[in-house]
């Protein structure tokens, strides 16, 4: 099916210990559009209620999860699998960042291949013999001073990279916002402001006026105001300078009352 979306990677957890982590993995899979979860020898058996409790409603990866005895069986139908591990191995497999891995996985999926990501359990990680069944190693760029990455987080980062790559790293498709105002609209704003500042006696000494104007314009220009923002700011200038009228009247009245 040439037009179908490429199939997302299968997530394989080898010897996961905590049902809570399996639930967290299901949740993050749902966050990033993944659905196929496979468990190799979960320590406490399967199913486990606490996984559902921790999935925050992302039940479908759990409901459909399949259990296997070995990694080999769990990946038997897959054509490209990367093993996620923090440690470099003696194997000659390529070592990829999550980003590069997502890119290779996507290319494979676009060719119609079935793809997967293999994760080790909380304590033991992955055996070299299991890694050797994979086509590459994904290493998350952890700070070597604190390597203890939670299983759910490791899946999250790879699932995120999958989806970010799938979306072609473009920002999420929001309705396009209003573009910046034209130079003409900006100049109207600047000149309005400068007229009012001139009236208010802001520009002095006079020989510095051109510089002051340039600095104001370039400061405001950095904001790349929209047309609506330009209108709002012109309202602000009008309000402030009319407000001055009110203040002035009050002052004048007071001075008048004081017999000035």
């Amino acid at each position: 099916m040439a037009d179908a979306a490429p199939s997302a990677p299968v997530i394989i957890l080898n010897a996961p210990q905590l049902a809570e982590n399996i639930g967290a993995v299901a949740r993050v899979m749902a966050n990033f559009g993944l659905a196929d979860l496979r468990l190799v020898n979960p320590r406490d058996g399967w199913p486990q209620e606490r996984a559902w409790a921790l999935a925050s409603g992302a039940e479908w990866p759990l409901n459909a999860a399949r259990v296997f005895d070995t990694v080999a069986e769990a990946i038997a139908d897959l054509q490209l699998v990367f093993a996620t591990t923090a440690r470099p191995r003696e194997l000659t497999l390529p070592v990829l960042t999550p980003r590069a891995a997502a890119s290779e996985l996507l290319q494979a999926a676009q060719r119609g291949e079935r793809i997967g990501l293999l994760f080790g359990g909380e304590r033991a990680g992955l055996e070299t013999s299991d890694i050797a069944l994979c086509q590459g190693i994904v290493t998350i760029p952890i700070d070597p001073r604190f390597r203890s990455l939670n299983l759910g987080q490791a899946v999250a980062i790879n699932a995120y990279e999958w989806r970010a790559t799938l979306l072609d790293a473009a920002p999420p498709n929001f309705r396009p916002g209003p573009g910046p105002a034209t130079g003409e609209a900006l100049l109207g704003l600047y000149e309005h402001l400068e007229r009012e500042l001139e009236t208010a006696g802001f520009f002095h000494p006079p020989e510095k006026t051109p510089n002051m104007i340039q600095n104001l314009r370039s400061a405001l220009g950095k904001a790349r105001f929209t047309d609506q923002e330009v209108r709002t700011l012109r309202g602000v200038i009008t309000a402030l300078s009319r407000g001055r009228g009110k203040v002035l009247e009050k002052i004048a009245r007071k001075k008048g009352e004081a017999g000035g």
Copy 2:
């Protein structure tokens, strides 16, 4: 200090509910080389033992965590802050992927700026008024069919992108010139403007005031004003609203002469 490594982003959690999530955030911060954690109104107070229990030994971000009453206070010393939120807002702030955000944050840090990432609490997320204090929005490319992303995962993905970007980064490219003003200086500017606008009767109808304020703040915030520009703009506000003494006196005198 030209040779120092760029400072990692501060992580600000607004109204976090579960101590477990705060612990998970600390752990993932340690995984990716972040250390400065700030809490705005943690629901159950602070410190909480369960945060330490869930941090798997990543205690230093928790030990050094600081608590604030408002987002404004928590970001007062920062110069570039992105708010992480899944929903597009009415604000005109730029919307960035985590990758693009990490790149902008790194460039700012390489210029010596203090940077941060703001996250909302588990239930409520972020108020628009808090987002309006930031310079951009980071949106994780979540599957719209399952948007419920765990707080720890949201921090993990952004922290991972920070470190991946840092490790990929070319040597810092120092740009001369003053950096942007702090959140505190910006807030001072905003509040000065809003006081004068209030006096001038700009905000009406009253129920729209919060929205008008948010829109003004986010419009101006895009400019990333320097300290000097903030001072200039405060002079502009003062001039527009009060005029300079001489002008006032002149006008007052005229009004007096006119029999006002």
